[in-house]
């Protein structure tokens, strides 16, 4: 198949940024749902990536994620986003219990020279689908979050990024001596996203 002629298979920086930031939106929703950070009933089912995905209906969470993905896509287009981390913390103690780490490698040539790359939508979707499946199945090995939790999102950017008005600098909210599980990656040929979840060692298991 001559993919050269099919307009669909050309991917631009903008398109790639849109795919990646949208992915973060769905991934964040999925994590919040699957990890029970917000009550099940506050989510609705939609079809995405060939999977039933859940999206929050809570206005506060919704607008948080919308603002987040909008900003992420801006940074992605500038090639300045290195990493996005979704942190789940205990509401009572603020202890970090889980870190969902999405590392991003940007093809600098695309950013600098504005060239485009070739990869079919279908293939990218398939890769994202695999990650989403892994997120959904993560509850089987992640320790139970049996206390009320809150979440936050950290964006690791290049140092030369001007801090937007609505953002502040944060500490990395690391987990001491965590367990880590690497999930699938996806690659738009412009942005490569590696997913990794690290979580607090369950003391129970160690004994």
């Amino acid at each position: 198949m001559a993919s050269r002629t099919a307009a669909k298979d050309i991917i631009t920086l903008r398109g790639s940024a849109a795919i990646v930031s949208e992915f973060f939106g769905y991934a964040a929703n999925s994590i919040l749902y699957n990890r029970g950070v917000y009550p099940e009933e506050s989510f609705v089912k939609v079809k995405k990536y060939g999977l039933p995905m859940l999206l929050t209906e809570d206005e506060g969470v919704k607008s948080f994620i919308t603002n987040l993905t909008a900003q992420l896509s801006e940074w992605l287009e500038a090639g300045k986003l290195q990493r996005v981390v979704l942190v789940i913390m205990s509401k009572a103690t603020n202890e970090v219990l889980e870190r969902w780490n999405f590392s991003i490698e940007t093809d600098s040539e695309v950013v600098e020279k504005g060239v485009s790359r070739e990869k079919s939508d279908k293939e990218i979707m398939r890769e994202i689908q695999a990650i989403m499946r892994q997120i959904a199945s993560s509850i089987t090995y992640l320790p139970c979050l049996d206390e009320p939790c809150v979440f936050d999102v950290l964006a690791y950017t290049d140092k030369d990024v001007a801090v937007p008005f609505t953002w502040i600098e944060s500490d990395p909210k690391l987990i001491a001596n965590p367990q880590m599980v690497k999930l699938h990656s996806f690659d738009t040929k412009i942005h490569k996203v590696d997913t990794l979840v690290s979580y607090k060692n369950d003391d129970w298991d160690e004994q």
């Binding site: 603002n67 009320p148 690791y156 290049d158 990024v161 502040i168």
Partner: protein
């Protein structure tokens, strides 16, 4: 972005800069490298600077003879030093916390002025349990449901009063009255949760002991026709009839009628004693609400009511005394009125009035939070949870297919039972679990919240 990229090292190499800048850089490139270009001290890295001034220059000078190992070392070093050049950012406005923390209203709202939604308690949108209630009389003016302090729910279906024990979900029949006396028009548990008063269509009121399933006595001669409302105040059982009279009965003594309140011209359909037992609120089909005071009644003054509230434009059945503010009464009007009104019963002043868009059949206060639940008829037949005093709708619970005539609250205050004209009894977990007294609320869980006040 440009302003922010000034201290970027990659930009100093400047392939894509404007010509002027590029030239300038080239000229300086060999000697001064980049030590003049550091705008703040926190970004200074002396090791890196040293490296760039000494080693770095050497590398550049003999770039052609540079070994791959050296290049790799340089790269790795740069990468390590690059750690400094990552910014970790987070939104100032944190996502809403999932579960409502009651004191947070006061502690965090001041710190988060921009936070629109306070963390909310989850309110299930559907009923937790549905029971059949066949032959439930669909009559707005009656009071056929009550949940006693011993956690037993009493409901009158036609001529029969059933008891449903909430602790073990068992149902038993208390009494079936004869056809000529029925149907049952009101039920009310005594404060002890053991004795129950049953008002009948034939103007009688029966007192039953639910523990022994035995009738204790019948109160006769207080009303001319059906008794649609009942309210207990210790040993006083207050009855309201279709004749517009309100009678205080002392159930311990033979001649039980101790006082009669005359003020309503039509059927008394709502009766509630305040928690202190000092004031009685009554609502009638004549659109009136009266506040009666115990002390005034005994003085036998000609005008017995303390206040006569004439603002409703339809029958008033829904009455609820506020559990956290002793002189606050909420009243709800029927189909032609549709408002919930709040009263200061000391002064008789109307504090607020909210149009709900549908007849108000029943009102209940949440014992644990400042919230009010109302039940409605056409068109939605829904229950509405209101925040007090803002009267913001927190939830609308639908499920009933006919007007929700009666509501009762479990003794722990969490669960609400509602009975509707669709002959179902539904249980709603609307008021949530009472929060165990929290230790002094943490000022704010977010370590950076103070920074929000920069502006």
């Amino acid at each position: 972005m440009d302003a922010g990229s000034l201290n970027s090292f990659s930009n100093l190499k400047g392939q894509s800069r404007c010509p002027l800048q590029e030239q300038l850089l080239q000229r300086r490139n060999s000697k001064e490298n980049m030590d003049r270009f550091i705008p703040n001290r926190s970004a200074m890295d002396f090791d890196y600077a040293h490296y760039m001034l000494t080693e770095g220059r050497k590398v550049k000078e003999n770039q052609t003879v540079c070994s791959p190992a050296r290049e790799a070392y340089r790269k790795q070093l740069a990468e390590t030093l690059n750690m400094n050049r990552t910014r970790i950012l987070a939104f100032k406005n944190k996502p809403p916390t999932p579960v409502e923390l009651f004191p947070s209203e006061h502690s965090t709202s001041s710190v988060h002025p921009t936070k629109s939604a306070k963390p909310r308690r989850h309110i299930p949108q559907s009923s937790e349990r549905t029971l059949d209630a066949p032959d439930l009389v669909d009559d707005f003016y009656l009071n056929l449901l009550d949940w006693g302090s011993s956690n037993v729910l009493a409901i009158a279906l036609g001529n029969t009063v059933y008891l449903w024990d909430a602790s073990d979900s068992s149902t038993s029949e208390l009494v079936t009255v004869d056809d000529e006396n029925g149907p049952v028009t009101s039920v009310s548990w005594a404060p002890d949760g053991r004795h129950i008063a049953i008002g009948l269509n034939n103007s009688e009121v029966q007192l039953w002991d639910s523990a022994s399933n035995r009738q204790l006595r019948t109160l006769r001669g207080c009303h001319r026709s059906r008794v649609g409302s009942l309210a207990w105040n210790n040993h006083i059982l207050t009855t309201g009839g279709i004749d517009g009279q309100i009678v205080n009965n002392d159930v311990r003594i033979r001649s039980h009628v101790v006082e009669t309140y005359r003020g309503h011209q039509q059927e008394v359909c709502g009766l509630k004693w305040s928690a202190s037992g000092q004031q009685l609120a009554s609502g009638g089909n004549d659109n009136l609400v009266h506040i009666w005071d115990r002390s005034m009644a005994s003085s036998n003054s000609p005008t017995q009511w303390l206040h006569r509230l004439e603002d409703h434009t339809s029958a008033v059945k829904a009455l609820a005394w506020c559990p956290f503010q002793s002189n606050l009464l909420a009243t709800g009007g029927g189909g032609g009125d549709r408002t919930i009104k709040f009263w200061n019963t000391h002064t008789g002043a109307c504090l607020n009035s909210v149009d709900t868009g549908s007849q108000v059949c029943a009102l209940l206060w949440n014992k644990n939070e400042r919230e009010l639940l109302s039940s409605h008829g056409f068109t939605q037949n829904q229950l509405v949870l209101w925040k007090y005093p803002s009267m913001v709708k927190m939830a609308e619970l639908t499920g009933h297919t006919s007007r929700v005539l009666y509501m009762a609250q479990s003794p722990d205050g969490c669960t609400v039972a509602s009975a509707a004209g669709d002959e179902t009894l539904r249980f709603w977990n609307v008021f949530g679990v009472p929060e165990v007294a929290k230790p002094a609320p943490k000022a704010n869980p977010e370590p950076f919240s103070q920074l929000n006040r920069i502006r």
